[in-house]
């Protein structure tokens, strides 16, 4: 499967060639990947420099001038550092933008907490006019971007380093969750590359005669409430797996879909209320934070035994 960062560059090139309103601003990353875009779309690519608040804010000016801006750098440097710019220069002023970040939650696993971002869903969800995507395969990134970039909204794309490795032909569209594997005993609701872990866990559970329904969510906002609710009404048990803080992420929204429904049991695998101070590979951090098939299986096993 293609490298995610390469797909990001290829998708921008594809859209940029077809639509001369697409303008790309980067904060001195992905520069070499975007040289084909710069060559194919003269005057519409700018490596502005290391000044994220200005990059985000000036793109609002491009939006006023009638363009579809794309701003791009590592997640925390846009979402956390330039949060007020997103809030005031886009959301408040009803302007549109495409924010495409890399680094995801802890893809920069060796670089420490300055390069991690576990708060993006929680921060961006409350802002009016935002859509939040976590496309975790090249095809998804391509489809979700092409179907959203000119929709007048603030589209946030959290692009992970790793793909989940699956394809869902004809099933990817903004705002629609995918039922990857039907089941009856428990719902595993998962976003991002952790789909791979969830699928492995569902196989182990199957061997234990526990039928897990795996729901894959690439659009965090708006959440596909129908698919989630139907699954919860069937299984009455759910684990939400997300590389995000335990506060304000997908888990909160899944619970919200069932607030007035009795006897649905939930558990979560997310990032606890502390910084991940460990170093190592992405897989090492997954293990430290509990993103393992064993953890999913253990929690699922407990949930299905609950009365």
């Amino acid at each position: 499967m293609k490298d995610m960062r390469q797909e990001f560059a290829d998708t921008l090139l594809e859209v940029g060639r077809a639509d001369n309103k697409l303008v790309v601003l980067v904060g001195d990353i992905s520069h070499f990947k975007l040289i084909p875009f710069a060559n194919a779309c003269p005057g519409r690519y700018y490596n502005i420099g290391i000044c994220e608040q200005t990059i985000v804010n000036m793109a609002a000016g491009l939006s006023i001038a009638g363009f579809y801006p794309v701003v791009h750098t590592i997640s925390p440097f846009i979402v956390e550092r330039a949060y007020e710019q997103i809030k005031l220069d886009y959301s408040y002023q009803c302007l549109s933008a495409n924010i495409i970040t890399v680094g995801s939650a802890f893809d920069y696993s060796t670089l420490g907490c300055s390069h991690h971002c576990y708060t993006d869903f929680a921060l961006l969800k409350p802002l009016q006019n935002t859509q939040i995507f976590f496309p975790s395969s090249p095809t998804e990134l391509n489809i979700l971007f092409k179907n959203s970039y000119n929709n007048g909204m603030i589209n946030y794309f959290r692009v992970p380093k790793l793909s989940h490795g699956l394809d869902f032909p004809g099933l990817i569209e903004p705002g629609k969750a995918v039922v990857v594997h039907p089941g009856r005993d428990i719902s595993i609701i998962v976003t991002g590359p952790q789909l791979r872990t969830a699928m492995a866990a569902s196989s182990i559970l199957k061997a234990r005669s526990i039928s897990a329904e795996v729901i894959y969510v690439h659009t965090i906002k708006p959440l596909d409430v129908r698919v989630v609710t139907e699954s919860l009404n069937k299984t009455r048990r759910a684990i939400v797996v997300e590389e995000h803080s335990m506060y304000g992420g997908l888990g909160d929204d899944v619970v919200r879909t069932s607030l007035n429904t009795v006897n649905i049991k939930f558990d979560f695998i997310s990032i606890p209320d502390r910084f991940i101070r460990d170093y190592g590979s992405y897989e090492d951090i997954c293990e430290v934070a509990g993103f393992t098939e064993e953890n999913i299986v253990e929690k699922a096993d407990k949930l299905v035994r609950m009365p």
């Binding site: 006023i64 001038a65 363009f67 007020e84 220069d89």
Partner: protein, 260 residues
């Protein structure tokens, strides 16, 4: 001799009616804003979104009473709009909202945003090869913000010759974090810088006439030396009058000084 006395009186009226507002900040910039709309900007009140218009952003949004009275004078908004400032159902607030105010190109309030938006508009117009010009007015205190200097670097690096900032240099920064050698600072960032008396309409017109706007070239900055509260002795301070509404007696005193 104070210019724009009637506009200053109207600012006082608007703030008194609203029960809130920044009179000294508005008095500081009123001569600049009046000059821009009266002599410089190509705009059409009947069609605020006219494609060939010049753009003006009031980055120091708290001075908006000055913008509002000038917009009303030129027919963008009505006297009734002014009377309803900061009231339920009104379109004018304590900072301009572009989604409500005809002629307001950006919503401002938090300092260090409007000028960056202006930078983006200037780049967008250049990509389109349009000749519209972009102006933004910021305060010297606002220039404490890091985004101002990021913008100074980026605009110069991009050679945005269609961009002009005006700095309302009323000494607010000097109270806390002084911006010494202001003109030199901008010049060292690659800007074509001018310094004028920001209360002298003739000096302002002369400097605006001098500017040569172009697709590629140096961005321009005019350091407009001003007095906060200009025109009324007891407002010319950096103290309590920053956000104070005059009572009836104080309002009469302001009028009296302006009439002298």
């Amino acid at each position: 001799m104070t210019a724009n006395k009637e506009l200053r009186k109207k600012i006082v009226d608007v703030v008194c009616m609203a029960g809130e507002g920044h009179i000294p900040s508005a008095f500081s910039i009123i001569d600049i804003v009046a000059c821009l709309y009266g002599n410089v900007l190509k705009v059409d009140p009947k069609c605020p979104d006219w494609k060939q218009r010049d753009y003006f952003i009031l980055s120091k949004g708290h001075g908006c009473a000055a913008l509002y009275v000038v917009l009303e004078k030129h027919g963008f908004i009505t006297r009734k709009d002014l009377d309803n400032k900061s009231k339920r159902g009104g379109i004018l607030g304590g900072h301009p909202d572009r989604t409500k105010v005809p002629g307001a190109e950006a919503s401002t309030g938090s300092l260090g945003h409007g000028i960056v938006t202006a930078l983006g508009i200037a780049l967008g117009l250049r990509i389109k090869k349009f000749t519209n010009r972009v102006f933004a007015l910021a305060g010297d205190g606002e220039c404490n913000e890091g985004s101002v200097w990021e913008t100074a670097l980026v605009a110069s690096n991009l050679k945005l010759g269609n961009l002009c900032f005006i700095i309302d240099n009323n000494g607010s920064a000097a109270q806390v974090l002084p911006m010494n050698d202001f003109k030199k600072k901008w010049e060292s960032f690659g800007w074509e810088a001018y310094e004028v008396n920001g209360h002298d309409p003739d000096e302002l017109i002369t400097v605006f006439d001098k500017l040569k706007f172009e697709y590629e070239g140096q961005p321009k900055v005019i350091i407009a030396n001003t007095v906060k509260g200009k025109g009324v002795s007891f407002l010319e301070t950096h103290g309590i009058w920053h956000y104070k509404v005059p009572d009836d007696n104080e309002r009469k005193m302001i009028y009296k000084e302006l009439d002298q």
